[in-house]
């Protein structure tokens, strides 16, 4: 089926998310939609899927104009979508999720569910693409990679001829990504068109037949998969970017951070951080790699004192941090960038200037006899805005109105504005534009070179490899191993799935992945 979008425009208030976008998807092709976070890719697909109403423009299927007033119409026309945040009901089984919305019922006319038919359909589709899927497994118990397959099966069960995959690899290990690419190729063979939305250049080049690049809501051009990553990145960002950081080798000083046997239990009493030990020296960056949800969040919360560990110790220059409140930990010289800046890193309604001193207002520098020293706060803001190149109308603008990259600069500027003994940043560049990523990475390396031990937690393998002096890989709450930064991506990917280092090295040599090539 040929899909064509003509002049699609969609605004949210003053923000134009899609500006006269034209796009043609030929039958049986894998068409990559490449663009930064916030470029308007997801908005476009939500318009196509009938979740948003376009302000203007038309959708054509096999050259016939169609209007979709809701997902039901889009599904009926043969368009399926695998959303970035899975649209699965966590407490339902695989079969129930797959059948939802087009349930087969038993004869009799009262609408009794025919679960056997749904199970059969799931098995049939799973067999066709050669993967295992238990129709009776409850979705919330499945790993994310498998949940994604459920989403794909769900779309195929409705005979989707155009399949939209919205950032499908964001939650996958490199090996799972490779399997997904295999499934995409099989679908293509079977005649299904695929729209592959991503901001990851490596994957686009591995799988796409054609590439359309979107920037600030408009199509800025198309490219072939042979184009170099640097060229694609420049198209995406709109100016030349250097993808490699080119940082100097670390010069580790004395070891000042010692984490020993740290264990954190969740509410049910199972260990989400399980006997984690590592050491960190002045002037080195340790990155913590792992797929989202393997205990990284809880580890950071334990380090900061938000979560009371069940066992273990955290020594910072010989002082025990376990048992201290977050404020005491911060005062002990720990700088922290939380993974979700809009929730934990900033107060969105506060001004940029206020956010820049959030955890510093009690110091003599910014307060006088219990009252804020507004002049000092203002002066500090002007200084930081310039130093960190924060693009804001003024220091009094609400921080929540800044772009993701500039919000993150505010958080980083605040945390790095005092002398630190340990700097922890969780997902420092999530949802940040490529231009800002480069800047943030350089600041982090500068902090390292200033002699601070740095712990970076990231689920983006590119970032892990880019920043690391050493890499710790976490899986199901445990450290699989700590390896040097030049470890091949394939090996890291296997370790992220829980395979120990030696075994991963052997396996990776046997079965190199496509997207994993340097």
């Amino acid at each position: 089926m040929k899909l064509e979008l003509r002049g699609i425009t969609k605004s949210f208030g003053p923000l134009v998310a899609n500006d006269h976008i034209d796009l043609v998807i030929e039958p049986g092709e894998i068409h990559a939609l490449l663009g930064e976070n916030g470029a308007g890719k997801s908005t476009l697909m939500n318009v196509l899927f009938g979740l948003y109403d376009a302000d203007s423009g038309e959708i054509l299927l096999d050259d016939e104009p169609r209007t979709f007033s809701g997902p039901r119409d889009a599904l009926g026309a043969g368009i399926g979508m695998v959303h970035q945040h899975f649209m699965l009901v966590p407490v339902f089984t695989v079969a129930e999720n797959v059948m939802l919305g087009h349930e087969s019922t038993k004869p009799g006319g009262v609408g009794m569910l025919d679960l056997d038919a749904a199970r059969q359909r799931v098995r049939e589709l799973a067999d066709r693409f050669g993967f295992e899927l238990d129709p009776d497994a409850v979705v919330e118990d499945l790993p994310v990679g498998v949940q994604q397959r459920v989403e794909i099966v769900k779309a195929l069960a409705r005979d989707a001829q155009v399949l939209i995959l919205d950032e499908p690899t964001a939650v996958l290990t490199p090996q799972e990504t490779d399997e997904l690419i295999g499934i995409m190729r099989q679908l293509k063979e079977a005649g299904t068109s695929i729209v592959f939305i991503t901001h990851k250049l490596r994957e686009v080049r591995a799988v796409a037949d054609r590439i359309t690049v979107i920037r600030r809501g408009a199509v800025v051009g198309s490219a072939s998969p042979e184009a170099s990553e640097t060229d694609l990145a420049s198209m995406m960002v709109g100016r030349a970017v250097s993808l490699s950081l080119g940082k100097a080798p670390a010069v580790p000083g004395e070891t000042t951070v010692q984490v020993r046997g740290l264990t954190v239990l969740d509410a049910n009493g199972s260990a989400v951080v399980d006997d984690v030990s590592f050491e960190l020296a002045r002037g080195e960056i340790l990155t913590l790699a792992g797929v989202q949800g393997n205990g990284q969040t809880e580890l950071c919360e334990a380090l900061l004192g938000l979560e009371r560990p069940a066992a273990g110790s955290i020594l910072l220059e010989g002082n025990e941090l376990v048992g201290l409140s977050p404020k005491q930990v911060l005062d002990a010289g720990v700088g922290f960038v939380p993974e979700d800046r809009s929730v934990d890193g900033l107060v969105g309604d506060f001004s940029v200037a206020e956010n820049l001193v959030l955890d510093l207002v009690h110091t003599k520098e910014f307060s006088r006899a219990g009252a804020l020293d507004l002049a000092a706060i203002r002066k500090n803001a002007d200084h930081r805005i310039q130093e960190y190149d924060i693009r804001t109308q003024s220091a009094t603008q609400a921080a929540g109105r800044l772009s993701g990259g500039n919000q993150q600069k505010v958080v980083l500027a605040r945390e790095l504005s005092r002398p630190l003994k340990l700097f922890i940043a969780s997902q420092p560049t999530r949802g940040v534009d490529v231009g800002s990523i480069e800047f943030l990475h350089r600041r982090i390396v500068a902090e390292r070179d200033g002699g601070t031990p740095v712990l970076i937690v990231s689920t983006e393998l590119d970032e892990v490899v880019e920043l690391a002096d050493r890499i710790a890989v976490m899986y199901r709450g445990r450290l699989v191993g700590i390896v040097p930064s030049d470890t091949p991506r394939d090996v890291l990917g296997l370790m992220m799935a829980g395979v120990p280092h030696d075994e991963a090295t052997a396996q990776a040599a046997e079965h190199p992945t496509e997207a994993g090539h340097e």
Binding site: P71, V89, P90, L100, G101, L113, N268, R470, V480, P484
Partner: protein, 429 residues
């Protein structure tokens, strides 16, 4: 650095079973309660008196004579049994296992028996009457809880059960009085509940107002409206508007003759039989039909439901209206199902107890019925013992249903998970 860092820990061996905390809550609670029962009801109980339970009625096939047991000895035996159960629960806890529902249920039965044996010492009590009354008092709670869960399964919190019960009671009384027919009253009750339900749906589903606030306001509104109509319209015309007939007790042939079970379950009013049907129908509909699957999807993850073409708003509208009708039907109990005439604020917080029954029953009809029976039993027990002049002060007995509610919801429920999207309006860009 080329080799694996020597500071790295060895690769972790796979752990065979997950590390979970031992939970001592249940065995400790059982132990303390069991010991208290043993000492208070057994060792400190009156010696030399007998407790008599009547377990048969005149219309049964088989007549069983009243059972008499020595009060103190029986209470001591029951107390020892309870301590054995506590020990079993402790053994399970040591092995990191939960004691199981049947242990808690059996413990509860033993505790209540031991209390009864002590409280009724030297007197006689009808066990059949107690159980029959429990079921009757559970009727509005069970209907209310089912009305609540029909709402919440689709993602709308229904705090307004109280108001729906009250308007249902009012509507049933007035219509039954005017038409001289309890069946017309039975039809009027859900319609009256629907009035509150449509307001709830309008504000929570269409206008996305906070569901808790709307529910509370509707309860206050229902009290105000029915009280106003009661004093300005019903009181002056009590003979024509507020003297409804009462629902007759219908004996189910054959079944009602079974000893104990017969009179309790099958010698009841139509409303009770409707409850049996409702529990069965709602259970099947929610968990076995297309309709139920879609409703639950909307209550758990409305956006996911929307992306497969299910109309979230329409589903919620339908369920809120249906739920309020079920709760309204339960309201009929207060007037035509028991005393007849309507009086001000006669539901007296039963709607909130129904809400607790819904949670305790984990949002399932069968669970809600069981929880409603528990609360109904404590209510009936309070009435029976109040009449019998037991050693417990009457004021304490009046607290019993509410005490049981708090203990049940706080202690037994633990971490239950309701529909994930309950309370959240669905906003689509």
């Amino acid at each position: 650095m080329t080799a694996v860092d020597t500071r790295a820990p060895a690769a972790p061996p796979a752990r065979t079973e997950p590390l979970t905390r031992r939970s001592w809550r249940a065995p400790i609670a059982f132990g303390v309660l069991g010991l208290a029962a043993l000492v208070l009801f057994g060792l400190l109980g009156k010696s030399g008196e007998d407790t008599t339970f009547v377990i048969s009625t005149d219309n049964d096939w088989v007549q069983i004579g009243p059972v008499s047991v020595p009060s103190q000895a029986t209470a001591i035996v029951l107390g020892v049994l309870m301590l054995l159960l506590a020990a079993y629960a402790a053994w399970r806890a040591w092995n990191r296992q939960r004691p199981g529902v049947w242990v808690a249920a059996l413990f509860g039965v033993l505790w209540v028996l031991s209390f009864l044996v002590w409280a009724v010492a030297g007197k006689s009590m009808s066990l059949v009457g107690l159980l029959q009354g429990s079921l009757i008092l559970a009727v509005p709670l069970a209907f209310g809880a089912m009305g609540g869960l029909l709402n919440e399964r689709s993602g709308v919190v229904n705090i307004a059960i109280e108001g729906q019960l009250l308007t249902g009671a009012f509507g049933a009384a007035v219509v039954a009085s005017v038409t001289h027919s309890v069946y017309a009253g039975l039809i009027a009750a859900p319609v009256a509940g629907l009035v509150i339900g449509s307001l709830l749906a309008l504000f929570t589903v269409k206008y996305r107002v906070n569901q808790i606030i709307v529910g509370v306001v509707l309860n206050v509104f229902a009290v105000g409206l029915t009280s106003f109509l009661f004093s300005s319209v019903l009181k002056p015309n009590a003979a024509t508007l507020n003297s409804p007939p009462r629902m007759p007790v219908i004996d189910i042939p054959v079944l009602s003759g079974i000893p104990i079970i017969g009179p309790v379950l099958f010698r009841q009013t139509l409303l009770v039989y409707l409850l049996y049907v409702a529990v069965f129908v709602v259970t099947v509909a929610l968990f076995r039909t297309r309709w139920g699957l879609r409703v639950r999807a909307v209550g758990e993850h409305p956006l996911a439901a929307d992306t497969v073409g299910i109309d979230v708003q329409a589903t919620r509208w339908r369920n809120v209206l249906l739920g309020s009708m079920v709760a309204g039907l339960g309201g009929a109990f207060f007037t035509i199902g028991s005393v007849g005439a309507f009086s001000q604020e006669m539901t007296a917080g039963k709607g909130y107890i129904a809400l607790a029954a819904m949670i305790l029953g984990r949002w399932t009809p069968v669970g809600a019925l069981a929880a409603a029976l528990l609360f109904g039993f404590s209510d009936k027990l309070q009435q029976v013992l109040g009449v019998l002049q037991t050693p417990v002060p009457n004021q304490f007995m009046l607290m019993l249903p509410y005490l049981v509610t708090i203990v049940a919801v706080a202690g037994l429920v633990g971490r239950v998970r309701g529909p994930a999207a309950a309370g959240e309006p669905y906003v689509k860009e």
